[in-house]
Symmetry: C2
């Protein structure tokens, strides 16, 4: 028994308000997922993430595989227990970061050989190995091993990349289904109310696997990718290879092309997006899940998202500004600290700067999605289940 | 009206359990004061410090004077409001850091000329200027401008340094008394229960000024220093120039020499100490206040203080250790995270490492003093007031 996806309301625009039942948490969707690269959402303690209302966070397979290693994490009961995060988690496949971070990489039909960005050591990742690593990590949702097509990519390159991704998707799924019972917390009651009784009746909770739609910026390749993945029957579907440098209208075009092809009764996830107005827009179109490093990465560089637009907190204009970062925000940072203080922390290179800026930006992103959910609930028609 | 020092219990060994009434907080003593160098206890949010039970924290005049500057802080209502810290604060005089951090310094009877470690700009600090800066910052307790005698120092050097420190102490006190009404929050009701009604009757709360006993490692110079400062009549007394590299029995000897000479009815503060067993030892001898960067600085380097001794969390032996950092500690870190996770955060260079390690070490220091207070209360004889 993997996930259950209960739709509560839908809107004429395609937006849907739903509950995604995962082994460790019932996630209210649409949802924004903070990125916890190496087993930590950078600079933010887990209890603060809980207070902020984070329901599901990401872990990066590439990083965790290299350090501390998936085997130690498996022996310690999985990623949830290792980092002490009781709610839901999702791991990427490692593919994206193998391609973007590792120094040397060689792609064959079998898999990818690459060198660690940490120590130059040589590693070989196949779809099967990615599944083994992700099962050891034990996130609620694992992702198929894919090749993320760069932008721009000509048609031949995009076709070849898609061919690889589709073959790897099938191998990922086959291996995952054969081994998903090996998850470190299988048959373990994770704790109420995280596990619904119906899950236990069905043999205890297991991980879910999502397929990833690729195809570059070619609508027909995107369609082909989506249709073939749907045929394979994943637990959910992601749209990958976006936010890789393309103009935003192209991002939107690809999402619009793919969404109608995905099964209505399964969650849909757009990977690596985006700005606050983007995540709101996609959520209203029917995207259920999104993740992005933007709120936390921008925070560490002093870029704050506010109801009045983006501000660069390091600017001199804020030196004696005693107002909160965002006058319309009631997060723990805006309730307590001034722009002047946040500017000072940044100027002084203080660690607290990254923490407070990240907390505010995450509050802004999570609050944005909370409002979207409320508005979908009001605007939408209830689904009779 | 500056401070009130109410002793509750004393022990035959000289230890005293008291309440130090300051404008922003009633501090239970003996107390350990975390160091908030540049307006932040490094890597620890203010609400966490409150949860940990921190009653009074330090700010460093040298750092805050250079960045963001005492004038902006004064215009924003003082340091408490600037950093959003409602409890008590203490600022050092800037002297120690001028001597240890600035690149070029020239000492005359008038004051010290030095270059900023940030941009090489030239600055001149006198006792009067240090008072002006500290009044602008508006901590509950300010410190006289002194010259911290290095170790080792020969007798001639220690005598000369003491001569300067005593002259500067008198100038500090004279200037402070003439200007202490200029504190940014004077005549302002800081908020209950921080200000006792009796303070308001006496013309509203003001800062207090402590003199600093110097004299190197020479008992007679220490005695002379203490006696002359007591004659000047400060609000409290500090023992400075310790923990500068001397052996620990010499530190203890100097403290033992000075303590009996200080007025029983005023708080006594030993600056810049120490290890957990040291602060406990000195507190039992009658020291009321101590501060040290050790718990937070050591934390950032992965050194944790525990009931079972010090541990270097980065050590390989902790790679799969699922126990809490300290099995006898109930701090928010020990309740939630494992040694293996803290080791991983440190290995990965994650910001959360410094935060969690610092929280635990501060909990250990503050907990140590809490236990000392309890034991003084049990062992001590009540003072009839």
């Amino acid at each position: 028994m993997a996930l259950t996806f209960n739709q509560l309301h839908t809107t004429p625009g395609g937006g849907r308000r739903a509950q995604l039942h995962l082994p460790h948490h019932i996630v209210e969707t649409p949802v924004f997922m903070p990125v916890g690269t190496a087993g930590t959402v950078k600079a933010v303690p887990q209890d603060t993430l809980e207070s902020l209302g984070a329901q599901i966070i990401l872990g990066n397979t590439y990083h965790l595989y290299l350090r501390p290693g998936h085997e130690p994490i498996r022996r310690m009961g999985g990623l949830h227990r290792f980092i002490s995060w009781p709610r839901a988690m999702l791991t990427d496949s490692g593919g994206f970061q193998v391609f973007s971070l590792s120094e040397l990489r060689k792609v064959t039909d079998e898999g990818v050989r690459f060198r660690s960005h940490l120590d130059g050591s040589s590693h070989f990742f196949t779809p099967e190995h990615s599944m083994d690593v992700q099962i050891a990590l034990g996130a609620d949702i694992a992702m198929a091993f894919d090749e993320c097509t760069e932008y721009p990519a000509d048609r031949t390159r995009a076709e070849e990349s898609l061919r690889l991704t589709m073959a790897w998707a099938q191998r990922s799924l086959t291996h995952f289904r054969a081994h998903q019972h090996e998850v470190p917390w299988t048959n373990e009651l994770v704790g109420e109310p995280r596990v619904s009784p119906q899950k236990l009746e069905n043999g205890g909770p297991t991980q879910s696997l999502f397929g990833i739609v690729q195809g570059g910026m070619y609508r027909d390749l995107r369609r082909e990718s989506a249709e073939r993945l749907v045929e394979m029957d994943f637990d959910g579907y992601a749209i990958g290879g976006l936010s890789v440098g393309e103009p935003r209208d192209l991002t939107l075009e690809m999402i619009s092309e793919v969404l109608p092809l995905l099964p209505k009764d399964k969650p849909r996830y757009v990977m690596g997006v985006g700005y606050p107005d983007e995540i709101e827009q996609y959520a209203r179109m029917g995207v259920d899940m999104m993740d992005c490093v933007l709120p936390t990465r921008a925070a560490r560089h002093g870029l704050l998202f506010t109801s009045e637009g983006r501000i660069t907190i390091k600017n001199k204009q804020f030196a004696e500004d005693q107002g909160p970062p965002d006058p319309n925000c009631d997060c723990m940072v805006c309730r307590r600290y001034s722009r002047a203080y946040l500017r000072h922390l940044m100027q002084a290179g203080e660690a607290l700067s990254g923490t407070l800026n990240s907390i505010h930006n995450l509050a802004y992103y999570l609050g944005t999605m909370r409002k979207v959910r409320q508005s979908l609930q009001v605007a939408g028609a209830p689904i009779s289940s």
